[in-house]
């Protein structure tokens, strides 16, 4: 009989083992880090205007921002706009400046068209034939702002801030503040959903963990089947159940609990959002809880009772602390998923169904303002990261039990 030397496998084997993870590393890099990085870079880097109007912007650097720029600036702008028009870039250029100051799209496009036709003697008159707004310093200020290659303006807007004419950072007027209140509401909804999931999921997980194996298998199937069902099907099912003339209301009316003209509004409001989101996210709470509870021997509770603890004491002082890793993992999972949620609230939430992620989707798909979408995504990323750090400090990330 030979003793094994007390060392690990040789370095070559270890290297080979590490090599096995290479496809995963490459996959994560290609499918996650790379797109994430390019997307986030859009939130601070926007070269389109800077590339299209280099000379104009260079000349504008010496401009005071108050009076109208001189003829050389107009001439450079006219020349570069004409080039942009030929490359069919004028519209995109206008779109970018329009984001800085609404109404600039047509000013830029008309200016470019006028420059191509050159109807007047000086460049200044030419552009002003295209659109009189070229005679206003505000137009040039907007171009100068849109021309920043590296910019924080997307983040400013994502935080409901703006720069005034003097360049100092101020809050937006109240009717334009949107993203911060929305973020707060999203956090609030996510918190409420997490709490509801915990209240509903904890007893379910306990029931499954302590059931005989055969019955436990069936119970876990009941948790998993909705989890495997299409999200849209589940959401639509809630519409059928909760609408004014839906199943629940009709049942209540038939039982005489509510009057026919007093049917309860349970959908297209915050109630609908909470009910549907809690249902969709419940498995993410139950599964980690179940996996932790299964490992708690049942004689712990009996031991607590035999030492004189009543049922409440034995639950709060023995059982509950032992389930904390599962509780924390489930809550973190549900909360983070809820923050990024948008389809379900949009369908069942009415005017309260607008959450932070809806705005990201909106700017990605409809307004095509990817810089702003990236900044909003960046903020969400930071919020989730901060939550994780807080969690790590409080509970310790290594104790996470994800099921």
């Amino acid at each position: 009989m030979t003793e094994r030397p007390a060392v690990g496998p040789p370095a070559r084997t270890r290297l080979r083992a590490a090599g096995l993870t290479l496809p995963l590393v490459a996959f994560v890099g290609f499918s996650f880090l790379f797109p994430l990085g390019t997307m986030l870079s859009r939130s601070v880097y926007d070269p389109l205007v800077a590339d299209a109007l280099p000379e104009t912007l260079a000349l504008l650097e010496e401009w005071d921002g108050e009076t109208l720029p001189g003829e050389p600036v107009f001439a450079a702008a006219a020349r570069e706009l004409e080039t942009a028009l030929e490359g069919r870039l004028a519209g995109r250029l206008g779109g970018r400046v329009n984001r800085v100051a609404s109404g600039m799209r047509s000013v830029i496009v008309r200016g470019a068209r006028a420059a191509a036709e050159a109807p007047a003697a000086t460049a200044r008159e030419t552009l002003m034939v295209g659109d009189p707004a070229w005679g206003e310093p505000a137009t040039w200020r907007a171009i100068r702002t849109a021309g920043e290659r590296f910019t924080v303006r997307h983040y400013l807007r994502a935080l409901d801030l703006d720069r005034d004419a003097g360049g100092s950072i101020v809050r937006q007027p109240e009717e334009l503040r949107i993203y911060v209140p929305l973020l707060l509401r999203t956090l609030m909804v996510s918190g409420a959903v997490t709490l509801l999931c915990l209240l509903l999921g904890y007893p379910i997980a306990h029931l499954i963990a302590n059931a005989p194996p055969r019955r436990a298998r069936w119970l876990i199937l009941l948790v998993l089947v909705p989890f495997w069902t299409s999200l849209l099907v589940r959401t639509t099912a809630w519409i059928v159940l909760l609408q004014t003339h839906g199943v629940v209301n009709s049942l209540l009316v038939a039982l005489g609990i509510v009057a026919d003209d007093g049917r309860i509004a349970m959908i297209y409001n915050m109630t609908g959002t909470l009910v549907a989101m809690t249902h969709v996210l419940l498995p993410f709470m139950v599964l980690p809880l179940y996996s932790v509870m299964r490992t708690i021997p049942s004689h712990f509770m009996r031991a607590a009772s035999s030492l004189g603890a009543n049922r409440r004491q034995s639950f709060f002082r023995v059982y509950w602390p032992l389930t904390l890793p599962g509780t924390a993992a489930g809550s973190l999972l549900v909360f983070i998923l809820a923050i990024g949620y948008y389809i379900t609230p949009a369908l069942v939430g009415g005017s309260s169904g607008q959450l932070f992620s809806n705005m990201i989707a909106f700017h990605m798909q409809t307004s095509l303002n990817w810089g702003l979408a990236a900044a909003l995504g960046g903020i969400l990323f930071v919020v989730v990261g901060a939550l994780y750090v807080v969690y790590d400090r409080l509970v310790g990330a290594s104790s996470l039990k994800l099921g």
């Binding site: 779109g95 799209r105 009717e175 334009l176 998923l337 379900t344 607008q354």
Partner: protein, 369 residues
């Protein structure tokens, strides 16, 4: 583990990946094919009957049918990647202007248009403003509001102001989750004459006035996003009245025997545009298709399937009856003289400029609780 909020996007992301990988092996589609994109639902069914099938029969071209929900995002992706697989599509006017300026759409020479029936040049036959650099108008559609008569046994709503009158007509209302048309409705209901609505929206005071009017009903509004939702919500009694596209309400009346009533007062008239995606591999077929579908005969044929009016004057005398029910279509079109009495024509140029800003304001307004 899937993140539920992303599931809808996953197929698109996969498709994009597939596209990127497939560029090398995907050659041009065979001759005689065309991918046409429309808006889904009853509109797509009407377009299929009135345009696609006759065009295929006449030319032998095979049309690939796709649907989308508007916007320029998908077109931009195709053009930017350099793999254009859509050829012709129907767009809203402000997206047509924007897409044209940004080089996402082909310019359409107007000499390809089919001649009018009264001998006028096509430029005079099309309603003013419906021909743009990259777009050819096809049908007028209108946003109206409709109600279910059973919910109002006594007095019935009759004007756009009644839509905002919670005292006389209580109950929840459906509205599109968008500033489009809603801002106009609010000002019309507040007594601004149609001719002054966009001038008012150009001022901060006018904008505030519009939002203040919306404030008066916001607690009672159920927001819809797809054109198919309002008839459903009316039928389910989820709302007592709802803004809607007139064609969708007509279809519910004609095909599902719903007793909905359309209030034409204050209707906001819009028109669809046909356009060609820049770099379309089937440019000639696409132009031929647009010539075919915007001919007076084709546009009149569409009215046999849905209550959207031709933008060509010389097509109007050809409008006859609904194919399935035999109903006379003329009184159901948004452009019929009775329905036109208090009408606002949507200003696409204004929306091209202000859509982004209005969307932000509208979202801010919606988010305020």
């Amino acid at each position: 583990m899937r993140e539920p909020g992303r599931t809808r996007r996953a197929p698109r992301a996969l498709a994009a990946l597939g596209l990127a990988a497939g560029i090398a092996c995907a050659g041009d589609p065979p001759d005689g094919s065309l991918t046409a994109v429309s808006w889904g639902g009853s509109f797509a069914r009407a377009v299929n009957k009135a345009f696609y099938e006759p065009f295929e029969a006449a030319t032998g071209v095979v049309i690939g049918r796709e649907d989308y929900n508007g916007g320029l995002a998908q077109i931009r992706t195709q053009v930017d990647i350099g793999n254009v697989h859509w050829d012709v599509l129907s767009l809203e006017i402000f997206d047509t202007i924007r897409g044209c300026d940004e080089g996402l759409l082909e310019r359409i020479p107007k000499d390809i248009l089919a001649p009018s029936l009264d001998g006028a040049p096509p430029e005079d036959d099309f309603s003013p403003g419906t021909l743009t650099e990259c777009g050819v108008g096809h049908t007028f559609y209108s946003t109206i509001y409709a109600y279910h008569p059973d919910r109002f046994p006594g007095e019935k709503p009759a004007t756009i102001a009644d839509f905002f009158d919670l005292e006389r007509f209580p109950g929840r209302r459906g509205m599109r989750r968008s500033p489009l048309v809603n801002l106009e409705f609010a000002l019309l209901a507040d007594g601004v004459p149609p001719g002054e609505v966009y001038a008012a929206l150009d001022t901060q005071e006018g904008l505030r006035r519009a939002f203040r009017k919306l404030d008066t009903i916001r607690d009672q509004v159920v927001w819809w996003e797809a054109g198919a939702q309002p008839p459903q919500m009316l039928a389910d009694a989820e709302v007592v009245m709802s803004t809607a596209y007139n064609g969708r309400i007509f279809n519910a009346q004609a095909l599902e025997n719903q007793p909905f009533v359309i209030v034409w007062d204050g209707q906001v008239l819009d028109w669809g545009q046909m356009a060609i995606v820049a770099g379309s591999p089937n440019l000639d077929t696409a132009l031929e298709y647009i010539r075919f579908m915007t001919s007076p005969e084709s546009l009149a044929r569409l009215t046999g399937y849905i209550a959207y009016a031709p933008v060509r004057r010389s097509a109007l005398p050809l409008v006859s009856t609904h194919v399935e029910t035999g109903a006379d279509m003329r009184p159901h079109l948004p452009t019929s003289p009775e329905n036109l009495r208090n009408t606002l024509r949507s200003n696409g140029a204004w929306w091209t400029e202000h859509l982004d800003e209005m969307n932000e304001r509208f979202s801010a307004w919606l988010a305020r609780s």
